[in-house]
């Protein structure tokens, strides 16, 4: 059982993440009703909200330092919050602002924060190989830093994940794969597309340990992550951790979820990990007032971030041409010495 301080910290991360997604949903839908036009409003484009996933980010990131690398999929906000990504700059990026994490160039699916070694991406399982690479770098430099790749349960069918397991296993790298199983890959329930019921079983095929956390429970996630991250820091290699979560807001904003039975939606909502953790905190001596205070603080923080983001300027059109490369297109050459004429002697 984690300490009360840890439980409180996880609770705050989860409440912040939930409120953040609820507020982003409101901001996103502005200008998009009644005719849902995806490119209208203050947050245009796709938005994949993680309401229901909070236990995964909170439980895992409790064990991580700023120096540990995290890669996340297209549903990243709860992980970013738990990892300590700059919430104001992240929000500004989602709003497409000049002072966002990516200067407006990446948007919500492509959030990068070098301060805490966080990156997310839009292609399924795409974050797995880079996490393996970060782990490789950690090992070469003899640190006990680790890397964590988060992915959805749909991603365990993708080649990049499978190859990453093999490479990480063969080289005994300090990387952990956290599969967030919310049962649905857009409209696909897991049992129609994946050959195993428990994704952590993929680990066995690669000579790796696998842990399945069944209960949408932050404490269970915390304990599983403690084992996996501890193993990696000790130099004993990778682990696959599959964590049951649930999807409360559709695949993307605008998803009518017509393919999903109502009982499934209701069943998922009944699993709320935030309520479960609140109940545990109460047995640890926190009062409703204490919980309310944490909630109020979280909401304030989210509102500040949103207000700040809204005040930020949009990028200038010319900025579209910047940041393609770090160095000059010509590289880093200085004037090379003159070559000797062919034939040698003068």
């Amino acid at each position: 059982m984690p300490s009360t301080a840890v439980l409180q910290d996880m609770y705050e991360d989860m409440v912040t993440a939930r409120y953040y997604e609820e507020r982003l949903q409101e901001e996103y839908l502005e200008g998009k009703e009644p005719a849902f036009d995806i490119s209208a409003g203050p947050i245009p484009g796709e938005l994949h909200l993680a309401a229901g996933h909070e236990a995964s980010g909170a439980g895992v990131c409790q064990h991580l330092r700023a120096e540990d690398t995290v890669t996340a999929p297209h549903r990243p906000h709860h992980i970013a919050i738990a990892k300590g990504v700059d919430l104001k700059k992240m929000t500004a990026e989602i709003f497409g602002k000049q002072t966002g994490l990516g200067k407006g160039k990446g948007g919500h699916m492509h959030l990068f924060d070098p301060e805490v070694n966080f990156a997310c991406s839009g292609i399924i399982a795409q974050g797995c190989p880079p996490a393996v690479g970060a782990a490789m770098a950690n090992k070469k430099r003899n640190t006990d830093n680790v890397a964590v790749a988060f992915l959805g349960e749909g991603a365990i069918d993708q080649g990049a994940f499978l190859e990453s397991l093999n490479l990480a296993s063969v080289q005994n790298l300090p990387v952990i794969f956290v599969v967030e199983d919310n049962d649905w890959a857009i409209s696909m329930p897991k049992d129609r597309v994946t050959d195993v019921e428990d994704g952590s079983q993929r680990a066995a095929g690669h000579n790796l340990p696998g842990i399945r956390v069944d209960h949408d429970d932050a404490i269970d996630v915390y304990e599983a992550a403690e084992e996996a991250i501890g193993r990696a820091r000790d130099g004993n290699g990778p682990t696959v951790v599959e964590v049951q979560v649930h999807r409360r807001m559709g695949h993307f904003m605008g998803d009518a979820e017509g393919y999903r039975p109502d009982e499934d939606v209701e069943r998922h909502k009944a699993r709320d990990s935030i309520e479960r953790l609140a109940a545990v905190l109460e047995t640890h001596g926190l009062t409703q007032d204490d919980l309310d205070e944490i909630r109020a603080r979280s909401e304030r923080r989210v509102e500040e971030a949103i207000d700040w983001a809204k005040e930020q300027p949009l990028p200038e059109p010319e900025e579209a041409y910047e940041n393609v490369f770090t160095n000059d297109p010509s590289g880093v050459t200085e004037s090379p010495p003159a070559a000797s004429p062919p034939g040698g002697d003068e």
Partner: protein
Amino acid sequence: MSQAVAEERELTMSRAMVEAIASEMREDEEVFVMGEDIADYGGIFGSTQGLREEFGYDRIMDVPIAETSFIGAGVGAAQAGMRPIVELMFADFFGVAMDQIYNNMAKNTYMSGGSFSVPMVLMTAVGGTYNDAAQHSQTLYGTFAHLPGMKVVVPSNAYDAKGLMHNAIRDDDPVVYMFHKRLMGLGWMPSPEGPKVGVPEEPYTIPFGEAEVKREGADATVVTLGLHVHRALDAAEELAGDGIEAEVIDLRTLTPLDTDTILESVGKTGRLVVVDEDYRSFGVTSEIMAVAAEDALADLEAVKRVAMPDVPIPYSRPLEQEVNPDAEDIATAVRDVQ
């Protein structure tokens, strides 16, 4: 012109595609569709809407997020004589499966000396303008057109979409069918006026390698495809107000390329503007200009290209608008070559 008369019912581009697929599936048991979220969902961009209800889960087959395996499976099924239509959800995702596409699907006919055919359609959603950022907004026309062994088509309206789809399914060669998301007629991504046109009820084919002059003019040749056919037509309207008549050519097919129509127009106008929603360098604009330079150099007075710059596609609205050519940019280019 190919636009059907006003008494015809009109279809969105997505419905025209679906009508063609359904028609071919009724005719031939060996035609089936594989893709992500195509059965109950009907395809993220409506490309299989309603088909599962008619044909069932076996012939409208949802697959895991595993492109290398299911696109490669399409190649295998095609080589066994079936006619799979495989959907790559976004063209941008080709990266995880390109070996099966360009090394298998596109090359097996040739490497086998013609003893194997690959009668497969690879349909895929392309294009931006709705803030989906660098990994979900590309067209990649140049990438697919550049590599030998696959036919590549890009419809710009419902009539062309249906005819090209019928041809693509019946053709014994691999056809990459690239449909622009903004042209599909989706409720959540409003389309410009142009794509929804009269579509005949009966099946018909449009040959590959036949561009179409969508608007005649003597003052400039504007060659383009996909979404930018409509932007070019808007530009032409505006230019006509100033007495400049632009001829707009809709390529419809990239491979094989209809060079005759391009050269004939260049011969008439002497001024070539190529418009492309793919990256500027080493792509469609380069190819069309090279064709003109090679075979109509004497006719050419001026050339200009209007394309996406060589940068990843940015997310933020002002940045995406800056990089994606609009009607204004096209009109400016036409004026520049006068």
